[in-house]
Symmetry: C2
């Protein structure tokens, strides 16, 4: 029987001013997903982690995504799936997306690449809908495409790959729980036109900064005047982490997804490490447990482990 093992990366979404439209794949952390073809129909899922995720394939994000792909193929055999999640569910760095995207990319490769990336994304979306109840591609797309992506339009899955200069990324996941549904509920449904203009000026500046490899412009554009002022209140230590990170040289950063993970971009590893220290100090003082990562961009997204 043929099998494949992949690592499926964490992703940052809602990059400051790029709320709902920009996502980026990280080198770390990542889940490990192993797929083995078998003769019998059906998907058999085993989890090696302690997150108590359902193993019934109809209730499991990876299961639903894989099934949607197999349905499109009229596939008559089945798969044994072993998932080792290292991205904690609810962390805000694309845990469910890593499951959904990882499994379809892996299965596609095992089956001789019958589908393109856009099709894979649409299968993975079925898993994400199970996870969040809504169609969002800003974690899935960077997982499938790698690097930094713009989701110009979710309905048509118009995904634009955007080059970036080398970036170091420091992530802290404070071990608090923020319900995505609550983080959505507190967002305003209406916003001032003036704030929207400020936001889209910064979005344009950010994208231009990435494409022109202009760190200073990236830094000047990494502002979110709409979402961050509301959601940052849910995350103790946010203002402190941001201020101290920028003081030691961060280009900027903010909340990933709907939190609680926070990220900061920097130009070099030394600054990224210094930011990690500052972040740890803030949460040590608050007495809140955390996990941190100092990493870079994964330009591949889901990747076979050989």
């Amino acid at each position: 029987m043929q099998s494949i093992k992949v690592k499926s990366p964490a992703t940052l979404s809602n990059l400051c001013c790029g709320f709902d439209i920009l996502g980026i794949a990280l080198k770390e952390p990542f889940d490990i997903i192993e797929l083995t073809q078998r003769d019998q129909k059906g998907i058999n899922i085993q989890h090696l982690d302690d997150f108590s995720l359902p193993t019934d394939p109809a209730k499991n994000i990876a299961g639903v995504a894989l099934q949607s792909m197999l349905d499109a193929l009229n596939y008559t055999h089945g798969f044994d799936v072993i998932i080792e999640k290292k991205i904690k569910p609810g962390s805000g760095i694309g845990s469910s997306a890593a499951s959904a995207a990882g499994i379809v990319v892996a299965a596609n490769q095992l089956l001789g690449n019958p589908f393109n990336k856009k099709q894979l994304l649409s299968f993975a979306m079925e898993g994400e809908v199970l996870a969040s109840g809504s169609r969002h591609a800003d974690n899935l797309a960077p997982c499938v495409y790698g690097g930094l992506v713009l989701i110009r339009d979710t309905a048509s899955l118009d995904i634009i790959e955007i080059n970036t200069p080398p970036l170091f990324i420091t992530v802290i996941h404070p071990q608090i729980e923020i319900k995505t549904s609550f983080a959505r509920k507190i967002l305003p449904t209406e916003i001032p036109l003036r704030s929207a203009v400020t936001q889209w000026a910064n979005v344009a500046g950010l994208v231009t900064g990435f494409l022109q490899l202009d760190y200073a412009l990236i830094s000047r554009s990494l502002h979110d005047v709409i979402i961050e002022p509301v959601r940052s209140k849910l995350i103790p230590g946010f203002d402190d982490v941001k201020k101290k990170s920028i003081d030691v040289g961060a280009l900027g950063g903010g909340i990933s997804g709907s939190g609680p993970s926070l990220f900061m971009f920097s130009e070099n590893e030394k600054i990224a490490n210094q930011i990690e220290l500052e972040m740890k100090t803030v949460y040590n003082q608050l007495g809140i447990d955390y996990k941190t990562y100092v990493t870079t961009i994964s330009n591949k997204g889901v990747e076979e482990i050989i």
Copy 2:
């Protein structure tokens, strides 16, 4: 006495989704401004056009802009200024910006370039404030810098030059009057967050399309879900012009400034000419006079005529 003659171009602002932040300089139409240094203090303005603009330098846009520059220099002499405006005031293609930017760029060159572009822009802004009562740089900046520019932040005049692929631009100026103040008043002060996200996704797509020379992406991104639905109602024939232009191959387009001029981008001159015909047909049927231009981007902005 030394003198200089420049052409100062029309500019498109509020490029679809890029409301308030993107502007572009056109090769045509342009004003002609001639400056001659003289010993006596003061600015003497003569207009060769029929627009009945004030010639008192304290009430003339070009006069105010030039004076603000001369004040910064403690300049002890004066200038004779001859202005031939070909860009009709109130057309929505940067008539006042052409006056304000043209004169300061010309004077700067005549005086041996004491100021950089950002400083020139800030002097020109004084003229624009006289014209519109508010600080907007989206017509001035392309005039001073040339090409397509992003005004990331108006307060700090953070101007980003953005490359584009070759673009043909068809402009029609229906001879109707739209008061800028009224066009502003009808804008919503609050907008749905969902619409704002759609808009900034398109802004990001548009800027990426320009920088990656990707006509298809530019076309897919040229949508304005916020301003155009409101302001297009002020312009008879708008929907028809847009639909027919796109039918003959336009990449997209919309209202320039606060109207009434409309613009359409295309990949080649043949399509641009076809669009002009379609535009003319619409306004002929409506019995509204118009002026049309088929032009390209001015990458220089204000330019000396030798």
